[in-house]
């Protein structure tokens, strides 16, 4: 269990912490989405890195090679990336709408504007 053998994991984890931190700590709605993206991207590494074999090649079969990296994680992550961008698109659409409705994309300002008195029964 050498440190080197787990190096890729530690990088992954660092990125993950940073991404998660941005999501939770930042009040800006767009910034949160950027953080969410980083958080998700770091997961890709968690999947892909263990699939690599030193000396192996990309899993495109040909006569010249015998050792390939594991293809299954690649497939999963392709799906995950697509899901990620779909979420992002939706999130941004929401941000745009929020901005139109509130004229702000800062979380605390939005909450402030909702809590103004006399709004409770405005429907």
């Amino acid at each position: 269990m050498s440190l080197g053998g787990h190096f890729t994991y530690f990088i992954t984890i660092f990125l993950m912490i940073a991404g998660l931190f941005i999501v939770i700590a930042r009040g800006n709605l767009v910034k949160k989405l950027v953080g969410l993206g980083i958080f998700q991207t770091s997961v890709y590494l968690l999947y892909i890195a263990p699939g690599k074999l030193v000396g192996g090649t990309a899993p495109i079969l040909s006569e010249a090679f015998t050792v390939y990296s594991s293809p299954l994680p690649h497939v999963l992550i392709l799906t995950a990336i697509v899901v990620g961008v779909a979420t992002l698109a939706l999130g941004l659409a929401l941000v745009v709408r929020i901005r139109e409705a509130y004229d702000s994309i800062e979380e605390d300002q939005i909450l402030e504007r909702d809590n103004q008195p006399g709004r409770e029964d405005a429907a």
Binding site: M1, G4, G5, H6, T8, Y9, I11, I13, L15, I17, L20, I22, I24, A25, R26, G27, N28, V30, K31, V34, G35, G37, I38, Y44, L45, A49, P50, G51, K52, L53, T57, A58, I60, L61, S69, S70, P71, L72, P73, H74, V75, L78, T79, I81, V82, V83, G84, V85, A86, T87, A89, L90, L92, A93, V95, V96, R97, R99, E106, A123
Partner: protein, 169 residues
């Protein structure tokens, strides 16, 4: 890559953040190529650096581009993130080492993809074969997710003809 992320976390200029996000995606794609995941790298570059950046900039154009000063000190989030990180370190320490051919992901399930693909599907790019055939249903789901997002954005952003009637609040 790590530095890029740190700058993103500190910076309050959203435009810069987004551009950095694009750079981050490119770096990530490079790493992925080094990991032999060419398909994934290509997608990451197209999506992360391309589509997402365009979307972000598009959204940014509609919003303002400076982030306000955070009011409270972010200790709690930091704690939460670090706890998550700690859990992951705890978890990954027991994982098989990098590039270990005996790891379960190399010995179980995958060999059939690599060995039998010639007789079963006969497509040289194993990733494509697994994606579209063996696990085709996941891809069907994925396409549906994209469709959901598309229809969802339409539902959210389509311009209303009668603007006065909606959004009373």
């Amino acid at each position: 890559m790590a530095i890029t992320v740190l700058v993103i976390a500190r910076s309050r200029n959203l435009f810069g953040v987004i551009v950095l996000g694009g750079i981050y995606s490119f770096l990530m794609a490079t790493v992925l190529v080094a990991m032999d995941a060419v398909d994934v790298a290509m997608t990451e570059a197209a999506v992360g650096a391309g589509i997402s950046t365009v979307l972000f900039l598009g959204a940014l154009y509609l919003c303002k581009s400076e982030e306000a000063q955070p009011v409270n000190k972010p200790w709690l989030p930091l704690l939460v993130s670090l706890a998550v990180g700690a859990a992951l370190v705890y978890g990954t320490v027991g994982l098989p080492e990098f590039s270990n051919p005996q790891a379960p992901i190399h010995t179980h399930v995958v060999p059939r993809y690599l060995n039998d693909i010639k007789t079963e599907v006969d497509v040289p790019n194993v990733v494509t074969a697994v994606l579209a055939s063996y696990r085709g249903y996941d891809t069907f789901g994925e396409t549906t997710v994209v469709f959901t997002a598309g229809a969802g954005v339409v539902a959210l952003l389509r311009r209303r003809r009668n603007k006065s009637k909606d959004r009373k609040a």
